[in-house]
Point group: C2
Chain length 453, copies 2
Amino acid sequence: MTVISELVAALAPEKVLTDPDVTDSYARDRTFLEPGRPLAVVLAHTRDDVVAVMRWATEHRVPVVPRGAGTGLAGGATAVEGCVVLALHKMTAIRELSPADETAVVEPGVITADLDRAAREHGLMYAPDPSSYEISTIGGNLATNAGGLRCVKYGVTRDSAMGLEVVLADGRVINTGRRTVKGVTGYDLTGLFVGSEGTLGVITAATVRLRRAPSVYPATIAAEFTSLRDAASAVSAIIAAGCQPSLMEMLDRNTLKAIDDWRNIGLEDSTRAMLIAQSDAVDGPAVSERMAELCTANGAAFVAVSSSAQEAEELIGVRRMAYQAKERLGKCLVEDVCVPRSLLPDMIEKIEAIAVKYDVLITTVAHAGDGNLHPVFIFDHALTEPPPQVWAAADELFRETLRMGGTLTGEHGVGLLKRRWLALETGPVTEEIHHGIKRVFDPLGILNPGKAI
Amino acid sequence: MTVISELVAALAPEKVLTDPDVTDSYARDRTFLEPGRPLAVVLAHTRDDVVAVMRWATEHRVPVVPRGAGTGLAGGATAVEGCVVLALHKMTAIRELSPADETAVVEPGVITADLDRAAREHGLMYAPDPSSYEISTIGGNLATNAGGLRCVKYGVTRDSAMGLEVVLADGRVINTGRRTVKGVTGYDLTGLFVGSEGTLGVITAATVRLRRAPSVYPATIAAEFTSLRDAASAVSAIIAAGCQPSLMEMLDRNTLKAIDDWRNIGLEDSTRAMLIAQSDAVDGPAVSERMAELCTANGAAFVAVSSSAQEAEELIGVRRMAYQAKERLGKCLVEDVCVPRSLLPDMIEKIEAIAVKYDVLITTVAHAGDGNLHPVFIFDHALTEPPPQVWAAADELFRETLRMGGTLTGEHGVGLLKRRWLALETGPVTEEIHHGIKRVFDPLGILNPGKAI
Ligand SMILES: Cc1cc2nc3c(=O)[nH]c(=O)nc-3n(C[C@H](O)[C@H](O)[C@H](O)COP(=O)(O)OP(=O)(O)OC[C@H]3O[C@@H](n4cnc5c(N)ncnc54)[C@H](O)[C@@H]3O)c2cc1C
Ligand SMILES: Cc1cc2nc3c(=O)[nH]c(=O)nc-3n(C[C@H](O)[C@H](O)[C@H](O)COP(=O)(O)OP(=O)(O)OC[C@H]3O[C@@H](n4cnc5c(N)ncnc54)[C@H](O)[C@@H]3O)c2cc1C
């Protein structure tokens, strides 16, 4: 038997795809990175399918690349040459949803927004909401420790992960964490798997925390500024005043211009930045008035304040157009630096200076309340990868971020894309530890090799 | 040179204690466990002291037991024979406190409540508040992932830990995590060290998250019930109604009796349980009225509602007396089980049944909102360790907890005390992984050997 026919025998023919035209579409994520050619793609339907793949892969030392929806922006799910892509998007059961415990047990292929909708039927919500939440999976969110718009108030995916079922590299299954709110038995393996980008094990189920859904629509403001620094000052003022926004996003002029060119939002010539903020607190309308005042006090030229759910939706709608608007301009190298919140204005000015210095188009949106910025470097659609000046600009961005005490990636992960800068942030001893931990879980190095660490 | 004189030479004579009368007081925590005899106690004043100890310990293969304030309830800081106790309570600097970033950088010996007080000067707070917060250290809180009264709303110590400086077993120093709100570079080593009970490294500094201090005093209720199950039902009702209490503690009759015998709180004969709940939200008084109604609807015989900060303090004061009141009754085996919140009533009934079955006095307080119970098994002052029926009762408690999908320890840690039950919860594969991780950090096994895993 060939290696692949053994795999087919262990699963079922329809679960193993080998036609290159088909497998190619599972070999990529949302980056421009050219994948290696996979040997096969497995569509896992059950945990036992995953166990069978990992046993087989261990026996034959075949690399395995776990994959959720492939919406990643770091190359984490990019196929490596001769691998099996282990696709988990068919495992979509919400096995349990307990309103009393405010928990759910879900399979990895559940779409993030579907879980949130299921929770809302019980007056609850699933808080982590990456902008991709209508297309990304919970498994992918866990493996990247995804952030989102609400995380300024509710934290990242890690903060909603209570326990995991994980298939190890050799096919053994462990359960980490717990179904209880608290617990300190043993080392925090749940935390270790979250954000490990498929390099330590394959997540086949998760117990996640739900929260009470706010009883009111999020009172929303959108403020326009003629200076980016003013907008950043408004962010600091809103935090310092204790407004506790449930969302606080900032868009630079280049982003607004891309959106305006596409959808005509009536952008003023003088507008350099927009700040969108929400409060989902019971006194949200009062808080949003206060946030609007603070924007004005910090130089906002214009502030819109929602007075209905629909108006709120319209104001935040601009933010939702950002990614698609950018993709129309060219190919995108999406970056994800995060700095201490107080340094947001400095970082924003630095990005503008880098754009001028290297003559590249950078459009930036920021999860401003978290100090997390997404400078997107736009380059020619015709190119297969970023030209040298884009890499040079990105390199300067990373070094500047670390100099400010920041981190290379706030929420997207290291994947393949950021690996060459990784050592700058972690240093040699931590790197040694990362590889030591990797060996404990995956001594043969078959799980998503060459990624994350 | 003797081994100890080398240690003295590497530090300074006054930092190395060897007089058995003195070292004995550093050899124990708050459990009844008899410690081994330490070779010496080191009073570390700086990170470099810690580095020197670990280098020396690695060279001579001497076990090292890190120690904060020794308030632990699991035997984590209990000295092992021939060890060095590495005491960190002299490292008390708050190196930095940034109101703009809502972060602080602290040394491990800082007393928990001191950090909270420092934060309050800037309108901020340090949320994790174990009942021991006036006597425990941040380092100990991190190493045990301590919970507290406020964690029903604000999470456990882990949720406030952003980054750590850690001295490894061989004296090398790493920095984990970050100073930013978010970040996903590399594996989550911060989470791994938190709760690892000094078995993976010595924490010499931490970057912690501060939060806005509530602008109002916590509106407080205290409800008396003639049935424990009614009190537990009220807990569920309060959660289900979305009240989001910032504290929710339950005391059983035995606990109330111990407090009444000591301080005369006017306990009614018919009272079987008391529920104390707080809301620190802006609409706290309205929320507390709502919580009071829910208590009444669930059978409360009497509900007091605070109408001033002082009344709130008086109501919660009863809870603060619990531990000392129990210590007057005898020696205490303090347990720390945690069950899914919805099973709180079942667990409480089970504890009552166990008390009867084994004829032991059990007094229980619970962080009810978290499903975390502290059944305290009282035994004779004259005994050095719990009599067989107490161990048998504890054994049944643990097995019942696991059967309910709970965990052996919600916040105190495994230490020495719970090690014999550990495998019941983790299983053999996870145990193998724990030991694999331990070897990555501490290949010679000198860091707090025999604890936690
Ligand atoms: C328009 C758009 C907006 C976005 N906005 C955000 C945002 O706001 N915040 C944010 O954090 N990200 C955002 N992203 C990035 C991306 O959506 C997230 O990284 C998401 O978590 C990836 O989920 P996925 O299911 O697509 O995973 P994939 O891309 O398929 O995989 C991501 C990584 O997880 C691993 N993996 C996937 N499933 C498993 C599993 N079950 N077990 C083990 N490993 C697994 C893969 O190997 C890979 O390393 C955005 C992307 C797009 C295209
Ligand atoms: C009256 C009372 C009430 C309590 N209430 C609570 C409560 O509400 N919630 C709760 O969680 N706990 C509670 N505890 C338990 C105890 O206070 C906590 O476990 C606390 O976190 C221990 O801190 P410590 O500084 O005393 O640590 P220690 O007892 O000295 O040490 C605890 C563990 O941490 C390790 N350690 C200490 N410092 C370091 C360091 N710098 N680096 C690495 N390892 C280190 C030790 O080796 C040991 O394993 C209570 C205890 C008492 C006596």
